[in-house]
Amino acid sequence: MNIVLRLAWRNLWRYPRRTWLTTGAMIFSNVLLVFMISIQIGTYGLMIDNTLEALTGHLQIQAPGYKDDLKMRQVVPDAISLAASVREGLNLQTVSARGAAFALASSEDRSYGIQVLGVEPMFEPGVSSLPGLTKEGRYLDDANAAEIVIGSVLARNLRVSIGGELTLLGSGRDGSIAAGIVTVVGVFHGGNKELDRGIAEVPIGYFEDTFDMQGAAHQIVINAGDYSKTEQLVQQANALLPADSKLVVHDWNALQPGLRQAIQADMGSAIFMYAVLVVLVAFSVLNTQLMSVLERTREFGIVMALGLTPGRLGRLVMLETALMGLVGLVMGSVLGGIVTSLFTVKGIYVPGMEEMAGQFNLPSRMYPQVSALTLIAGPGIVFLFTLLAAIYPAMRLHWLQPVAAMRAA
């Protein structure tokens, strides 16, 4: 086998220019694949984290059915103490209890239907970006104060500013009429119209009094920091739930099914592009190897006449291709990794993308994410197709007649 390997390596460099050209095509496509896949994975990660950071979190503990019905009575009992024990059990500070109710918010002369969230002022900044985006005024700080933080579009619609009063009118947990007067202390700019128009936050203590929650809330929101840790945290959180409770843990995919669908749609179109690239490279390899086999017809005829089996010759051709592919794989991955890593720090700025990026909660600068997967996935597939492309030239050797081959021009 050693001799075959050596032969293959020498054969490869008999025409260095041709070998380099083919390997160059492989390296180029591998660098491109590493770069593109890294950007994609990086973008998806950002998209998931940024979307979930706004409000949803990576996972939530809820009453069964609440996710679909959003009924006031589908509660998590003793939510604040459960949130505290989950915080301790997971050894994670980014856990917060939240109540949610639909209410009519009225200012002096205008009224809008909104979702009112009762939040823990101390822990909400850990699970949601809205507190940090409260640029006008301040965020909530007292768990029982009659204060409210509203979105910028809602503030404009209601014509209310910091210090103004809003009346909330809705239904309590027991179906009674819930009403309260709150002072606007902050306005957030969530960057997302839906949030800015329809969401307001009050302290959880005030929420419980007003909506007669009796210590219960609707969600315990957990921010995993990084979406890849979600699965592990779901398991841990499940183990932390009281044994007799019917509560369920939902991951972000269940809470925001649209997010994964958007990613899958994008991935589908990207995979098609990659497939075209890989097939082109495979054909260029097929061309090179077929050429090199055909031009060696006489040589192969002679060695076969000397007793070399077609199987061994076929292995030789396959090995040549494999070596070439390996060079392309290693150089492509290394070069791709280096190029991509340069951009992980600075990011890539694509002018005119701000609008579209904003829709997916993305910054206008894209940051690729390099990992073993992004380095190997693309080049690995190129390597596989290179080998597949060499099968036909190798198979041809089985039909080679030594005498006829030796006479070939």
């Binding site: 009575r73 009519l104 009224s111 809008y112 239907g113 007067i181």
Partner: protein, 253 residues
């Protein structure tokens, strides 16, 4: 030519009218108008109980209501203690609500009219329904049944193209003494969404009224709201200031 045919059609309709009357085929729109008039044609004062039923809980509220004509209504909650003093005032199609907890009168925006009224299965729109159904709908008599000495008419009412109505059609069942037996609401695709049924009809305040009515969604049979009339008085003298925002806030009666 056009004039001629117009005159002709008037003549024909004049001729046709007594024929229709003799065949005992009453006009659908007239029955609806009659039902509305019967229900609230004059002024009234009533005491009611509203039961909101859900699979795992039930809630009972007591209220008092005043009406005048089909345009003006005032409802005030008396029980439970927690909700006492909450009230709703409706004039034409405008609705205000008052809550003593915030001591404020709030006008309900039109975008909220399809929301539930006080947590019940009635929407704000259902409660404030005035005579919209008479002039914004096309009425057709689709069935007549006779039972227990009464004739019952079934009327299909389809809103006009330009009517601001969420329903595709409504079917009213009205007895010949103008008591409303049932009211079904269909969506734009013709699917039955919710229905109001009169469970008990009796004499009260000198006329036949639906004493117990139940509103429920069709696909949630275990969720309904029942309104029971405990006492009703018709033709009461009502002060002009009954239907005002200041009376909603500070009851004087």
């Amino acid at each position: 030519m056009a004039k001629q045919s117009a005159i002709l059609s008037v003549v024909i309709s004049l001729l046709a009218h007594p024929l229709a009357a003799s065949a005992q085929q009453p006009d659908a729109a007239e029955i609806v108008r009659g039902a509305i008039d019967h229900w609230r044609g004059t002024s009234s004062y009533s005491e009611m109980t509203m039961i909101i039923h859900r699979p795992d809980w039930q809630r009972t509220m007591s209220m008092r209501g005043w009406t005048e004509g089909d345009k003006r209504t005032l409802v005030r909650v008396t029980e439970p203690q927690k909700d006492r003093g909450n009230g709703t005032l409706m004039i034409d199609n405008t609705m205000w609500t008052y809550s003593p907890k915030v001591n404020r009168v709030i006008k309900i925006p039109s975008s909220m009219m399809s929301q539930s009224w006080m947590g019940s299965d009635f929407s704000n729109k259902d409660i404030s329904r005035s005579d919209d159904i008479v002039d914004q709908y096309e009425h057709n008599l689709i069935g007549t049944t006779e039972a227990g000495g009464h004739v019952t008419y079934e009327i299909q009412s389809v809103p006009h193209e330009d009517a601001a109505v969420v329903w595709g059609k409504e079917v009213l069942t009205v007895r010949d003494d103008y008591v409303l037996i049932g009211h079904e609401f269909y969506d734009q695709d013709g699917m039955l969404v919710k229905k109001l049924t009169s469970l008990e009809i009796g004499e009260m305040g000198g006329r036949s009224v639906a004493i117990r009515q139940r509103m429920g969604k069709v696909d949630e049979p275990d969720e309904w709201t029942e309104v029971r009339i405990d006492a009703i008085e018709y033709g009461v003298e009502l002060n002009d200031n009954v239907f005002t925002q200041s009376n909603l806030r500070n009851p004087r009666n």
